[in-house]
Structures are given as structure tokens and as C-alpha cells.
Symmetry: C2
Subunit: 377 residues, 2 copies
Amino acid sequence: MNDGVSFAVHSVNGAARLGALSTPRGVIRTPAFMPVGTAATVKAMHPEAVQALGADVVLCNTYHLMLAPGAERIAALGGLHKFMNWPHPILTDSGGFQVMSLAKLRKLTEKGVTFQSHVDGSRRELTPERSMEVQRLLGSDIQMQLDECLRLPASREDADRAMRLSLRWAERSKLAFGSQQGRALFGIVQGGEDSALRTESARALVDIGFDGFAIGGLAVGEPQSVMLKMIETVIPRLPDERPRYLMGVGTPDDLLQSLSRGVDMFDCVMPTRAGRHGMVFTRQGRLNLRNARFADDPRPVDPHSSSRMARDYSRAYWRHLVKSGEILAMMGLTEINLAYYLDLMEGAREAIAEKRLTAYIEKTRRGWLEGEADGGR
Amino acid sequence: MNDGVSFAVHSVNGAARLGALSTPRGVIRTPAFMPVGTAATVKAMHPEAVQALGADVVLCNTYHLMLAPGAERIAALGGLHKFMNWPHPILTDSGGFQVMSLAKLRKLTEKGVTFQSHVDGSRRELTPERSMEVQRLLGSDIQMQLDECLRLPASREDADRAMRLSLRWAERSKLAFGSQQGRALFGIVQGGEDSALRTESARALVDIGFDGFAIGGLAVGEPQSVMLKMIETVIPRLPDERPRYLMGVGTPDDLLQSLSRGVDMFDCVMPTRAGRHGMVFTRQGRLNLRNARFADDPRPVDPHSSSRMARDYSRAYWRHLVKSGEILAMMGLTEINLAYYLDLMEGAREAIAEKRLTAYIEKTRRGWLEGEADGGR
């Protein structure tokens, strides 16, 4: 791995690993959940609170930051860590996913993708080289190669073509990344829902050589079983001594199922986005606090949470705040959800160390069923 | 005063007073600024943070809470303090001002006012007796009589009629309040911009007898000089041994000018509302952080603020967050403004104790002029 970055597996339990990804800005305990801080802020959270909840690293979005306020501007202001007052590790994505999901008038070529900014309508270009330049300007600790994120469902031909383009971009990304002391570059396995393509992608990326390997293009609408099958296909092709990152996943159950299959890192907007919409994750399942049945409910959201927001306020209060559109609802429920996700990872790490991950997962799932959840898990 | 409530003046400097209003839930150091927590939340703030900034008391709105989630509901849940997790003193207004400014289809009679809820369109009634009942259900520490809040400009005849109606409602409010141990009831001086009416109102309220006296119906568009003249008219008619509360005021300069004339308590949405709209109060005047000139400005908002939000982040970061509509902008700028208002009161209290209030006010005003404020003070 790059100088100043290292990964160590301290304990295994089945395929699951307890590890530590060390960077000059701090150690990321794995399995790790990375809160999403799209535009240089984890929405509705003070950065000190994100860290206090147990987050070792946050993810920021290259696409958003290159459009506003701009990577060169952030660099001139001292880099992204200083800009957002988060001195701990930051992972940036490549921008490819948002170009595909947010930008208009996209045009994909071998060179890269041109698109229209959703902020000001300006014409922009994202190439592997530009993505790496933006991530370097931001000063990101963990940088991602540019890949083509296919919209599903896609034909095998499209998945094949996108996977091969992503491999060529992986090589260009690595060249553009160069050698940045104390920073890591991850490759991204693509290949849709096709085991053979996924295997080929993983092998080729390992040959190119990266500090870590991500699995991309999953949790985009396919059944959980398909996602898990792809994880089971890819993980054995990846070197044990490198971290594995499942991008954009997922529900608490997705996380437990995936880490038990050897995934080390996760990011997802689910806890933060759900919190802004009145939905909370608890040890007894999900609650939709918009629901009228909470109007007179004096109970806390989750008395075992590590967040005071879940312990010191009634469900009736949150229901009132959600209904009234109060900002504190978004603040408090976001915190409750991040605490839940981060506590879940902490519990998984302890369980792996004590070789009781299966029991931990079973107990956690039983808890969800005991509750009065408004939805699935 | 009511059992369990007391007010002591510890020091005077000209007409200004350093005092303490003591309640079973805590001591309110005066001059005091009360952050507004309309719907049982100081918008965009954790309650612990409001207290940490130096607030001894918050104001909540009877009108909003009686409509949603309902006073009886809050009482069944253990009262407003528990509901909003604010164990410190709470002042509630009477609901009269919001009925006049927010409700539709108002009909005013001797008995009270009927109106249509702006929440669900239901027909509601607010009388002196109902206002006191709601405030009692909420469990408010400082309760306000119902008064008629006249819209200005108003004729002398209207001001006269509204003042006399408010006096009759004052008597009914006092009767309905009864004797609540550890809680205070304030009367409200009305009379528009007419010194004779204000004097008559003050004298009559003193005869009825209240634990404190508010001055209402000011800062509704009149020049500051008119407001100050009304304060100078009313204050000498009020007993020295009771707290004086100027309702809904105002700018930092309004506060300094008013407390130097003997006002003890203030509330205003200005710091919280301005913060949600990108405007901050600093020791060097106001800044509108939407302004493009802050896009590359690495300086903190106010290095001498007691809020880390004003010290640890650049103006460029806040400008980015404001422009991007990020919730952290509302959280951070609200905190900066509340810190400014509460620090201003802390400074005034120290200055009164040391008999140097005039110098403190002059120095504070000079600071505003030194800056690069985007607006007036």
C-alpha cells in the first residue's frame, strides 16, 4: 500500500474481519460505516457530533464539490478537512455515480463524460484524470477511481462494455493518482449481476494493484440475494490484506449480511436521508414518526441508543416536530439513525473479536421483529 | 410576588439594573435575552446548546402550542419542560399577538377572540381564561396576561379602546391565574404611541398587581426614538421591585438602549430568524453570508464569539452552506446569533455591576462601525 497507509486484520470470524485501516489522519476501525457528507457537511449534523457517535471517516461527493463551491476554491482555502472542520479521514467518491444520476445532457466517450451542471447549467467534463485531480485538490485520504455506473436493468453486453471501460479508467486513474503519501486509491469492481464479469473485473483490478477494492453497482434495485451472490463471487478474488468497500449499501440487514461475507467498509445516505423524513432505525425495528399513533406516546425512541436524542425525548415530541417541519426533527432523527448504524458496526466488531458474529446477527434481527416497526427492516 | 418567585436588583447604573428573577426551575440573570422557542423548540438548536450559550429562560408561544400539538396533550405528557427537554424556566406569551398576526377570520369581542386555526382551519376561541388555562397546562414559569395587540398605525381612539380592553382582560387573567406556587404572572402595558395612555395603562396594572410588567405593542414598525420614548414614559410608573419585560424587541442596539433605560428582559425572533436566512450578528456588525464576496474569505465570522461556529469555520464555508441550502448553515448561524445576543447581555450585566454601562455601549457601537457590515445595526 501507499506509504503512510496500512490495513491490518486483527481477527476473523467466518468470512468476517475485524480490522483497522490506518491513515495519517486517523485509524478507521472496520467493519466501518461511513456517514455521507455530500456537500462537505453530514446533513443536519455538527461534525463534532458525527465523530462523537463513533464515525472514524466520512464520505464526501466529488461531483457536488467540484460544482460548488469548486475543488480549486477548497484547495485554496486549505483543503476539505479544514473547510468542513473534520480533521479525521475523508473518503471521496469519483463523481461518476452522481454524473449518471443527477447531471443532464450526459455524453459518455472513451475519454470520459461531459455533462451539464445541475447547479448552474454550465458544460463540464469528468475524466479519470480530472476526477483524480479534484480528489487530490480536496485532499481526500481515500480516493476512488472513476468508473462507469450503469443504470440497471442493463443487458449483459452493456454490463460487459461498462466493466471494460471502467477497467481502462482504473488504469488511467491509478496513473493520475501517482504516489500520494498517506493517501489511498481504491479500484471499483463492476460487472452488473453477472458472476463471470464480476470475477474478471476483480482479477484485472488486483493485477493493476490498488490500496483497497470497492464493489460498485449494487443496491441499485436488485434483490438482496443477488447483491449477496455478487459479494460472495467477488470477495474470494480480492487479496486478504486489502480493505473491501461495498459502495452505497444499505439497510442494517444489508450491512450485517455483507460484513459477515467479508466486507469491511460501507457508506449509505439511508440513515441521514431517512432521519430527515421522520423515519428512525431502532433496536426494535423502524418507526415512522409521522404516524398519528405516536402523538401521545411518552416512550423514548430507543432507550438503549447511544444518542441522547433517542433516550431523552418522547416519540410524541418527535412526532410533533416532524409534523411541524421543525429543523430539530431532522437534527435529532439524523443523529438517532447515525448512532444506530455506528452502534451496529461497533457491536459487529466486538462480536467478530469474540467469534460470536452469527449470534450477534440473530439477536439483532430478533430485536427488529420484537418491535412495532412501521415497515420492513 | 407569588410564593417561590422573587426578584432582586443587585446593582444599578443610571436607570439600568443588574438583577435576578428566581424561580424554582432556575435563576434568570437580568438584563436577560430570552431565545424564542415557538413550537417547543428553539429552531435549529439542541436545548443543551441553548443553555450552554448562556440562556437562562426561553419563550414559547401559547398560540402555536394550543393548536399543535395541543396544551392538554402536552400536560398529559408531563408538561412543556419535559416535552421539550428544557428543565430551566419557560416564559409563555398569551397567544394574543399570534392570533392577530397569523390567524384568519378573527372576531374580537369583550369575551375574547374567535379565529380560524392556521394549522387545520378549525374554529377556536382565545379568552383571558383560556389563555391562562393553556399556560397552566403547559406548566409555564412566567405567564402573560391576554391583551389586545393592535396593528399600527392605529388611531388614538383605537389605542384607547384596546388599552382599556386589555386592562379588563388583565383583571380576568389575574383571577384565572389564581395562585400558582413558583410561577409568575406578568401584566402588559399597552397604549400605542400615546404617553398618556401608556401612563394610565401602567398605573392601572400596578393597581391590579402583577409579579412583573411587560411593555407590549412596540417594535411594530415605529422609529426607535418612539419606542424609547414610550419606555421612558412607562418605566417610572412601574415598581422598582418588579421585573420589566419589553416584548418582541429587537436589534442589538434596541436592547442596549432599552436596558440602559431600565428594561430587564427581552425576547425576539431576530437572531434565530436571521440565522436561518444567512445573516449573522458580529462584534463588527452584521454580515450577509449569501454575499459573493465571502466565497473565498478564509476568516472566521467572529473570532471573539463564544460560539465555536463563529471561530472554527470560514466565512467561505458558511457562504457555501447557505448557498447550498444546507441545514448546518441554519444550525451554525442561529447559534452564532444567539451567542452574540447572549454575550451582549452578559457584557451589559458585567458593565452595570462595574458602573461602566455607557462606556460598554459606546465601545459596542464603535465595534459595529469598524466592520464591513452589509446592513445597519
